[in-house]
Symmetry: C2
Subunit: 331 residues, 2 copies
DNA sequence: TCCGATCCTGCAAACCTTTGCAGAGTGGGC
DNA sequence: GCCCACTCTGCAAAGGTTTGCAGGATCGGA
């Protein structure tokens, strides 16, 4: 019932081989023949059967995308960009959400790997050894995580972070608090390191206030940690935590940024929607997403993939949640 | 290099047919043989080649999921649920984001349809005729939209909406404003109808204030519409609009809910994170998503799919953005 | 006029799995 | 002891596409 290569061939009075070539290696077939075939194929509504093609070429035309949690507003932007870029190159994207279950990741990856040409792993939480194992079987690009000898697209936090710290220093803040994310998180470690360096450079005192879940609730739970510390500004592991914290502060009628400034990382859409709007270090998700796809596609074309580690620069977004220090710590 | 059915057969000393049957129709093969095969298959790490299987069975084991915009916080919850439920049944999900481009939808659907066993269309914006055409070629379940003679999972707005209106009436509001969503939107029409009915029942005066984009910016742009109308409470097409409106009101120092109450639809995660938190009509996304997958899978098993239209009930979430009316409209 | 090169096309095999059909073996009933 | 029914297994074809190889045509050069 579906129209096949044979049908087109029959209609065009040529062999299936010729039709196949007309579609995949156009230069190998006479121009007039090719045109006739293409017209006919379009008329008949021919679409190649990807299963059959995949059977012989060993390629599926699919990419696998693993994300820990679609409900985390950080990821949809990434998924969107990845999916759009893949579609442009005629690849379809399998999306798998692990629901933050680290233990599930390896099996899901194995399952996924069999059905795709390449894998995009977004911020996988898994241990390095397990991760490496997974990346060895299938062409893989890591997103928002780096690993030796594996291609990746990560965010260059340095720039955005130091801009943020300079911004805070410029506002007169001298003691900065940092609320960290989950212990095992690669990007969490990155961010902490960036903040440490930037504070040292700017001559600010950094108070590491502890670690919380990377969620809104994590942020509200950080309230006590923050209030106990003599800081005038707090940088949170990510925007959700920053927002949770801001709301908890508001709950207690502690003004942001009047009494305390708050900043985050990610620039999730919500950061611009709340009041006060959130100062944050923006990750260029769209750029990272398409870069990751480009990189992966490039690997698929290479017999011996060359590892490339791309860093996309982050940028400070100054908004309403940061303001001049009251200098409370000098009292 | 990949281990195939033949390898397992060779190792087990049986024919490929037997291995195939051991895996797909266990009762047709001797128990001991089957056990030996299964053990061996597991040892060798055999995974069936889905392309080959698909070629002969005509099934791909994939489902296609089309959403207008992943960045709209309404959808990730749905996608998550759908993907999880599909994975349980060993189906993979292709996610396609149309980026709100209605004109693109038909072509994307056609493309997708060839590679999946069934289609889940989330709130497709396309015209009924075009939509019907698309649904005729492939087993399809619509989500958040209904169409005659096509299976669907929709939200039963009536209940949640009338609860919301009763809630407002109970707070003393007499004049309610409604800010509508995009003109062609099916769920927009549904919601408007629900609000109309509920207001009529409760004896409230409904002011239809016009239509805006279903986004945060749409909400802020609705400010003037709202201020011009003599209403003490506003119901917005969705939460994003409601939140945009709230922030625009706050910008003008108009207190919510002090001077005006605001409510939305969807119960996106953000609704609980802003201040004041947003009163809204919650859509049970997880339930809808898994119901949609179940329905689709059921269709795939039936030779002549029976159309089923499922409605999942909505529920009112009372939060901080609605409060007693000041009775301004009576002044 | 003949030869070689070049361009285009067709043949046929291959990819891996499923499945209808038939054959072999077993056990039970008469 | 014979036949039938039943269970289990293997054979072979089929599904749609790609691709190495070879053949035919065309053209240019000598």
């Amino acid at each position: 019932m579906a129209v096949t290569l044979r049908d087109v061939a029959l209609a065009a009075g040529v062999s299936p081989s010729t039709v196949s070539r007309a579609l995949t290696v156009p230069e190998k077939v006479d121009e007039r023949t090719r045109e006739r075939i293409l017209t006919l194929a379009a008329e008949l509504g021919y679409r190649p059967n990807r299963a059959a093609r995949g059977l012989i070429t060993g390629r599926t035309g699919n990419l696998g995308l693993l994300v820990p949690d679609l409900a985390n507003p950080f990821f949809p932007g990434l998924v969107k960009a990845i999916q759009a870029r893949a579609l442009e190159s005629d690849y379809q994207v399998f999306v798998v959400d692990t629901d933050e279950d680290v233990a599930l990741e390896p099996e899901l990856i194995r399952q996924l790997a069999k059905q795709v040409d390449g894998l995009l792993l977004c911020s996988p939480r898994m241990r390095p050894a397990t991760l490496r194992e997974a990346t060895e079987a299938t062409p893989t690009v890591l997103v928002n995580r780096a690993l030796a000898r594996v291609s990746s697209v990560t965010f260059e936090n340095g720039e955005g972070t130091s801009a943020l710290i300079r911004h805070l220093a410029g506002l007169g803040h001298r003691r900065i608090g940092f609320v960290g994310g989950p212990a095992g998180s690669w990007s969490g470690a990155q961010r902490l390191r960036g903040v440490r360096t930037a504070c040292a450079t700017a001559g600010l005192l950094l108070h590491e206030l502890g670690q919380v879940a990377p969620t809104f609730e994590g942020g509200t739970s950080a309230l006590e940690l923050v209030l106990r510390a003599p800081v005038t500004a707090v940088v949170a592991y990510n925007d959700l935590v920053a927002i949770g914290l801001s709301q908890a502060l508001a709950e207690r009628s502690i003004e942001v940024p009047g009494r305390i400034s708050v900043a985050g990382f990610d620039d999730i859409p919500m950061a611009g929607m709340i009041r006060p709007s959130l100062t944050t270090v923006a990750m260029p998700l769209a750029r990272a997403g398409s870069a990751a796809v480009d990189l992966l596609l490039r690997h698929l074309g290479e017999p011996e993939p060359r590892v490339r580690q791309i860093q996309v620069p982050t940028a400070l977004r100054v908004r309403g949640s940061t303001g001049p220090s009251l200098g409370l710590d000098e009292s």
